[in-house]
Amino acid sequence: MQFGNLHPLILHLPIGILALAFLMELFYRKKPAPKDNGAILFALGISVVSSIFAAVSGWLLSENGGYEEELLSKHKWIAIAFTLGTILLFFLKKSTKKWAVKGYFPSFILVLLLLTLTGHYGGSLTHGEDFLFKKAYQEVVIEDIDEALVFNDIVQPILDQKCVSCHNQGKAKGDLLLTSQKELLLGGTSGSLLDSLETEQKSLLMHRIHMPLEEEEHMPPKGKVQLTAEEILLLEWWMENNNCFDCLVKTLPTDKRLEPILAALEKDTSPRALIAEEVDAVSEDFLIGLNQQNISAQKISEDSPLLAINFKQRKDLTQADFALLQEYKENIVELNLAFTNFNDTLITELKAFKNLTKVQLQHTGVTNAVGEYLSKLSYLESLNLIGNPIDDSGLTALEGLQHLKKLYVWQTDVTEKGIASIQAQSELILVQEQIADSIFAASALTPPVILAENEVFQDSLKVSLEQHFEGAQLFYVLHDSKKDTVPKSYSKPFYIKESTQVTGYATHESWEPSELVKADFLRSNVAVKNVALAQPPHQKYAAQGGKTLMDLKRGTTNFVDGQWLGYEGRHVTATIEFKEKTEVSRVSVGSLSIPNSWIFFPVGYTVWGSSDGTNFNRLKRIKLPKPEPSISVEKQVYAIDFEPATLKKIRVLVESPLKNPEWHAEPGGNSFIFLDEIVFD
């Protein structure tokens, strides 16, 4: 670090201390003697020392160059004069000579004048000559972007905002000026700004802009306001087109990325922007006052004078409510009267709000009479008339509205003709009616739910159908031994007495009938005394032991629900003892398959019967193929039919695949079988 760089710090000391000395001087002038001259003298002394330091550091800083010479020399010499002045002042104060006492105060004024001057020139050096009296940055207003000049209207304004504060006549960093086309072409000490660099395909301008922010040479330097992504794109675009100085925007090729950026440069001529220019800012008290009257009043944005008013579906609006809005009636651009009691008696109130761009009148009860008042709203863009007794003649009044873009007429008496008529006047108007029935007309009912206590039953089972849709008619078919397939209308729960598949569906006028639902119910008409399991199930899936298979409850696809008996890597043999000898011709076994959880359907069943309870005969043996590749979660009930026999006991062997199949993610792992129910017929 150089001592010169401390100049901006040190220079403030003499300014402050000298000002303090002067104020003390004024203060003590009116006081009776003895005057406390010591403190003032001390302050003056410090001023002298700090002035000298400031002058020396300033001199050193000026050696670095980059400053406008004429300004610099003014600043330099006045500063030196000022430093000498402070020294003089110190000695005048110290002296008791009459001429010194007499000359002291005028000299003080003179030194302060020098201070002001040197400060001003110093400031001009760093902040630019026009800093103090600079007009606020004049934004270039582009009326029509196509006709705008790329350099004058787009590029130069960017430079003016982001670059010129350091690259101007007063402060020309790197000897580069960016204030006009001529100077831009001249470049600075680093060379031409616009020609491509030898080392890369970029110009110096683009090179500096695209350097990482941390780099010393990145422009604008870290700490200054940076170029936005949009501004960089615009500069690049201009450079790519040979930095054309007198091209119009429309003559240069643009692309998708540039178009919205260019469009945003154009002066906003939307109704709201025009209104915002004309009206005054709204006082906060006004808004708070309205909110206390239960009227929601919101500024469109924090620095906009425009207001949106919402009457919050109130049913008690009177003229007095509208009177509250009078003070800023021209600021109001949105009026939400939806679901209020705003009817034909209040419509004259609309007259006051000539700047409305959005009006919501849905479900208020206004009639065609409102058209007259709406037609005066020349800025109107969006109008909601839904649910009001308005017809085509009400719309005719709107035909003169230049800005109208959206018109909602659902649930009114407006006809296709009326819509065509207003659209003929301007294609821009989007008239929204009810969304085409075609999309949603073919809506189907949700199927009913078939409900019963259990899926397996012993004597009879109560089955009911349920549907939430009020007025829907339910139908069902019982697929049992009667083979009656004509759907029956459902009115109340019914009973089934044999194994049955129940199907059902719902219908409703003008709706598509629902999909078919199915449910299977199994009758187990054999009274069981006891179930003995030859092998204990896996301890985690033991449920209620053998009883589980006879409890008439099916398991869900959730295998830990307590309805499943699980066996890991082994077959199962269950021996069931009937209460009394019964004729049996079918055994059905419920099982589960969840390959991802290592659970597979059984691969074989063997059934033995015993009429005396001790000697068993084999009745049937079934071998099934190994499980196919699958990851589906499924339940099944496998039926084993055999010659009818009168039995006291029956024994069923259910064979497990034992190991996970080859195709499984973990081949060879101990696989499971899960059983929930054994049913006899």
Binding site: P260, N384, I435, S630, I631
Partner: protein, 494 residues
């Protein structure tokens, strides 16, 4: 200056930190503090609760930062991570190369969940379902979503969403609060805090839940997902349930008349007010406001929840499921009714999209749950002129992998979580209708064009509501927090 004086100084809202701070500065600081009054310590903008009188919750912002495109949001959150590859992101290459291993060059070190990290092969799999082109731009939409297909000209599909989390809870929390760790306020709470409520009779932030048929026992949701975090408890989301009491503990106990209740509340408010004057705790004000809100909700909630009078053609739009309380369709219909009442943020959660296995069967059911009702909601808002100032969002917390989790069979497969790309759609004010934004590679694994981070999405959402996401902050534990943390930039092109 004795103890008594210190107690009196509660008027300047002493909390522990301020107290210690001032003690350290000496008692002089205290005296100065009381001379300057409480405004010296608290800037207007930092007040937690602003005039919570009968007019409902006032937002911290007097006006939006810039003019808002939408006034309210309906967020149809698809919890579990819907598979973009079955619904919106058409990748024929995956069908061509079905069963081939995912090239490492594509996976590129992506971390995996514990559920597939053991897998030694990642067999690519395309959608089992057909695709059709819909709308003016011929956008590809799955046959699972015929209704959404028909509304495609009104929605803006973002195919290039990505997130940082790979498991459900952190991912949902990240979407809702901007942080994977629980504890921050969720989007709806931020909006309630920032913009306040337009309807003093209903909360600004409501939540509706439904279970999907794709995976009925799917991931649970936690109430903290609609929690207010460190914001004031007034801004908490209120869950509306599909039961006799839509909002729990709202109804009066038997035998308590409306008048009795009013008297109780008035007396309670007087006591609370007294307490507030003494201790200056903002939570007391909030409590008064909540009691009042609950009182008004006793009439407003049943009114909103009463969908009986909706005409038949409305039920036809939303599907007959809308008649069954608690279904997604019924919730969509309720969402529209809440939006009509100017509720600021209506959050639906539909669970069951987490289809690790049995995806084809599960997603078919799941898509049927949401397709018609989601499309109907957009259409219904449109025909009511409400789509102009309402934003509808549809999407989950992440996407699903382009390879099968577990075994790939001829008809069946599963997909694991995939944070690198997924699809969402937006519809409504300020959003370009009918466009597809962003693109993924042919494998549907990485984003190749216009990536949108969750924070970008949140910043854009706030922007549409007129909020600069960098300026809606809340100072808590010495740090200014915001929804988008220290990231997020606007997606201006949607």
């Amino acid at each position: 200056m004795g103890e008594k004086k210190i107690l009196l100084d509660n008027a300047v809202n002493l909390n522990r930190r301020a107290f210690l701070g001032k003690s350290a500065l000496g008692v002089g600081g205290l005296a100065l503090g009381s001379l300057l009054g409480c405004n010296f310590y608290r800037k207007e903008g930092e007040l937690v609760v602003k005039e919570n009188n009968a007019m409902g919750i006032k937002g911290i912002l007097n006006a939006p930062h810039h003019s808002a495109k939408v006034k309210r949001v309906i967020y149809l959150f698809q919890s579990g991570g819907p598979s973009q590859l079955e619904l919106f992101d058409y990748k024929p290459l995956l069908n061509e190369r079905r069963g081939e291993d995912l090239p490492e060059s594509i996976r590129n070190g992506q971390r995996l969940t514990g559920m597939t990290s053991g897998q030694d092969k990642f067999p690519l799999v395309g959608s089992n379902f057909g695709w059709k082109q819909y709308g003016k731009n011929g956008t590809w939409i799955s046959d699972l979503l015929p209704y959404m297909g028909k509304m495609v000209d009104d929605i803006c599909i973002i195919k290039s969403m990505y997130t940082e989390a790979i498991n459900h809870d952190p991912a949902v929390t990240f979407f809702q609060t901007g942080s994977q760790q629980p504890g921050r306020p969720s989007i709806g709470s931020w909006l309630s805090y920032g913009l306040g409520s337009e309807n003093e009779n209903l909360p600004a932030f409501t939540v509706l839940l439904s279970r999907g048929s794709g995976r009925p026992n799917g991931q649970p949701l936690y109430t903290r997902l609609w929690g207010n975090g460190f914001l004031h408890s007034l801004h908490q989301g209120v869950q509306f349930r599909a039961a006799k009491d839509p909002v729990l503990y709202l109804n009066d106990p038997k035998g308590v008349s409306k008048e009795t209740k009013r008297t109780i509340l008035d007396n309670l408010a007087a006591l609370n007010e007294k307490q507030y004057k003494e201790f200056g705790d903002e939570e007391i004000q909030s409590r008064i406001a909540q009691y009042e809100m609950a009182y008004r909700m006793q009439t407003s909630v049943p009114e909103v929840m009463d969908t009986e009078k909706e005409p038949d053609y409305i039920y036809k739009m939303y599907g007959s499921d809308a008649k069954i309380p608690g279904t997604y369709a019924a919730n969509c219909l309720l969402a529209r009714r809440l939006a009509e009442q100017d509720v600021r943020f209506i959050q639906l959660y539909h669970m069951g999209w987490d289809q690790h296995d049995n995806l084809p069967a599960a997603i078919e059911k799941q898509a049927k749950d949401v397709d018609q009702a989601s499309a109907a909601l957009v259409a219904d808002l449109k025909q009511r002129g409400m789509l102009e100032d309402t934003l509808v969002i549809w999407g989950g917390e992440f996407g699903r992998t382009n390879y099968s989790q577990g075994l790939l069979t001829d008809t069946n497969y599963g997909r694991d979580h995939h944070p690198r790309c997924f699809t969402m759609w937006l519809a409504g004010g300020g959003v370009k209708p009918g466009i597809v934004y962003g693109e993924t590679d042919d494998f549907g694994y990485n984003i190749v064009d216009k990536p949108v981070h969750v924070h970008d999405f949140q910043a854009t959402l706030l922007h549409l509501l007129g909020i600069d996401h960098e300026r809606l902050t809340y100072k808590y534990q010495g740090r200014r927090f915001r929804l988008t943390d220290d990231e997020g930039h606007l997606e201006k092109d949607i």
